[in-house]
């Protein structure tokens, strides 16, 4: 499917067809606003409902009811009248609400009266020694293969990290007959105590019962080591073993696959490149946009919904999508009757603080040392970053000039948080004071020929061709 946008102007452009984007697009289209939903993947669902229309795993029980709840929302969006384009990469968004989108090897600019960014989350970088070795992947990667292709590990496999997704993935792999040899739980013991004040809200949230059942299911089948304080992958050209320390004892496990996970963080590239103000979130340890209750950002006309607004999970994402859609509808038609979704949103967000505190990753898994690679693209280590601080780099942008961190194709997605926290620690500053990379379009690589085919004018030619 490589349909290009039918129009040059839309009332609402929604970017990302995960829970938030699907819900938002369905609602704005339902109010007869011209709505375009752009998504990078081959089908709707985002990460959490990936391959919802195409998964070869058909059994309801295997993937769980939370997964299948996505089918209904995806169908509603499809039937809503919104124009939906998949395999469309949005590579530029600016404060004029002009959107650069690449579809099928060609690019175009479209204009929107409102933009709802619903680009979701990515997994938090997990920079341990050896994390670039073939055979080390994120848990999300394994889950993607499981949902899209029905593939599960059949080699010696270690799952390491923490957070609800880790246990969900383990349960799903086991249900599909896959292999997990060992789970290394890195949840810091102190977090259990720190999370207690938030426990009541969590115990009364929908997560609680499901989460507990899943952990029980996994523990019955796989050896689990808790309180892991150190983790390293090693091997020659590919993963051969995983070394860990728990309770002061060092152990080495043979492994061909190591799946890492320590939570998810907002995808900030598009919003930051558009100039949306973000602040460091001390609880979630990531950048989150500054938003009002409807997701409206510091840039007029741009709202952010879903996990991109701060991690809240799939249910919250749906309601945030509807809240942002409601705001867009109100802006277009002040007399439209839009119901207030804040009670539903509050309910869906309940228990989040408990999870945030309990699964706040330990410092040693966020801030690496020595020869551990920080920037995977440019192969820059923690020591390289500290050397740069020593000669005067105060933040990520000067570091970039010195060492090219963040200049590779991933554009800082897998080093940005690490760089900020590492520099903050080295300089005795807060991450907020250190700041982040200044991001620029294209936020995803596009072909030169695509840029070349975009509209030109005499003024631009004069600015370039100067004899």
């Amino acid at each position: 499917m490589s349909a290009v946008p039918k129009h040059e102007n839309y009332d609402v452009v929604v970017i990302g067809a995960g829970p938030a984007g699907l819900a938002a697009a369905e609602m704005t289209a339902g109010f007869a606003l011209s709505t375009l939903l752009l998504d990078e993947n081959a089908g709707p669902g985002g990460q959490v409902w990936r391959a919802i229309n195409s998964t070869p795993v058909k059994s309801e029980a295997l993937l769980g009811s939370d997964y299948w709840s996505g089918a209904e929302i995806a169908k509603a969006a499809r039937d809503s009248g919104a124009e939906i384009i998949h395999r469309a990469t949005v590579w530029s968004l600016d404060r004029n609400l002009e959107i650069g989108v690449s579809v099928g090897g060609g690019s175009a600019f479209i204009k929107a009266k409102r933009v709802i960014i619903a680009t979701g989350a990515q997994e938090r970088p997990f920079p341990i020694p050896g994390w670039t070795l073939p055979g080390v992947m994120t848990a999300g990667a394994a889950q993607t293969m499981l949902k899209s292709s029905g593939l599960v590990p059949d080699c010696p496999t270690v799952l390491a990290g923490q957070g609800p997704l880790l246990w969900l993935l383990a349960a799903q792999i086991l249900r599909l007959g896959g292999r997990i040899d060992h789970i290394l739980d890195t949840t810091p013991r102190a977090n259990y105590i720190a999370a207690l004040p938030h426990a009541f809200a969590f115990f009364t949230s929908p997560y609680f019962g499901k989460g507990l059942a899943m952990m029980r299911e996994v523990r019955a089948k796989v050896r689990v080591t808790s309180g892991v304080t150190e983790l390293a992958a090693s091997g020659n050209g590919k993963l051969e073993s995983v070394t860990y320390v728990a309770g002061g004892k060092r152990e080495t496990l043979p492994a061909e696959l190591l799946l890492l996970h320590q939570g998810v963080v907002p995808n900030v590239n598009l919003a930051m490149a558009a100039g949306v103000e973000h602040r460091w979130n001390e609880l979630q340890l990531c950048w989150t946009p500054v938003l009002d209750a409807f997701g409206n950002s510091s840039i007029a006309g741009i709202a952010i919904a879903g996990d991109g607004a701060g991690i809240g999970g799939a249910q919250a994402a749906v309601w945030r999508g509807r809240a942002a859609a409601g705001s867009a509808i109100k802006a277009a038609r002040s007399n439209a009757k839009v119901s207030d979704v804040s009670p539903q949103l509050r309910r869906a967000e309940r228990g989040r603080a408990f999870l945030d505190v309990l699964f706040q990753p330990a410092k040693q898994f966020r801030i690496p040392q020595g020869d551990t690679i920080v920037c995977r693209c440019e192969e820059i280590t923690a020591k390289d970053v500290l050397d740069s601080v020593a000669i005067g780099a105060t933040g990520p942008n000067q570091l970039k000039a010195y060492r090219r961190t963040g200049m590779g194709p991933c554009q800082g997605r897998l080093c940005g948080l690490t760089v900020t926290e590492l520099m903050a620690e080295a300089r005795g500053k807060t991450p907020q004071e250190i700041g982040y990379y200044r991001l620029r379009a294209p936020v995803k690589p596009i072909m030169l020929s695509e840029l070349a085919s975009l509209p030109k004018n005499d003024e631009a030619t004069k600015a370039v061709v100067r004899g």
Partner: protein, 86 residues
């Protein structure tokens, strides 16, 4: 369906991404980085990490995790920097 990896035919399932098909093939599909030539395999499978870069039908440095397989596709493993004309 059948796709070709460095000229070898492998079987892929419709709906697979190129990266998933490569990983499932059992072949050595490690790419070499453009910086040091280090061996890598896909890390995130969701379009973020760019460690799945691969040459597809003669076009280099494509994100294999975002491209669905198609019958007869010719895949080459990315070896370092993008080649001229690929």
């Amino acid at each position: 369906m059948t796709i070709h990896v460095e000229g070898h035919p492998i079987t892929a399932r419709e709906g697979d991404t190129v990266s998933a098909a490569l990983l499932a093939s059992g072949l050595d599909v490690r790419r070499a980085t453009a910086v040091s030539g280090a061996k890598r395999l896909p890390y995130c499978m969701m379009g973020v990490c760019f460690d799945c870069l691969v040459t597809i039908d003669g076009v280099g440095n494509r994100q294999g995790c975002l491209v669905p397989v198609a019958e007869g596709m010719q895949i080459d493993i990315q070896k370092g920097k993008r080649e001229i004309g690929k």
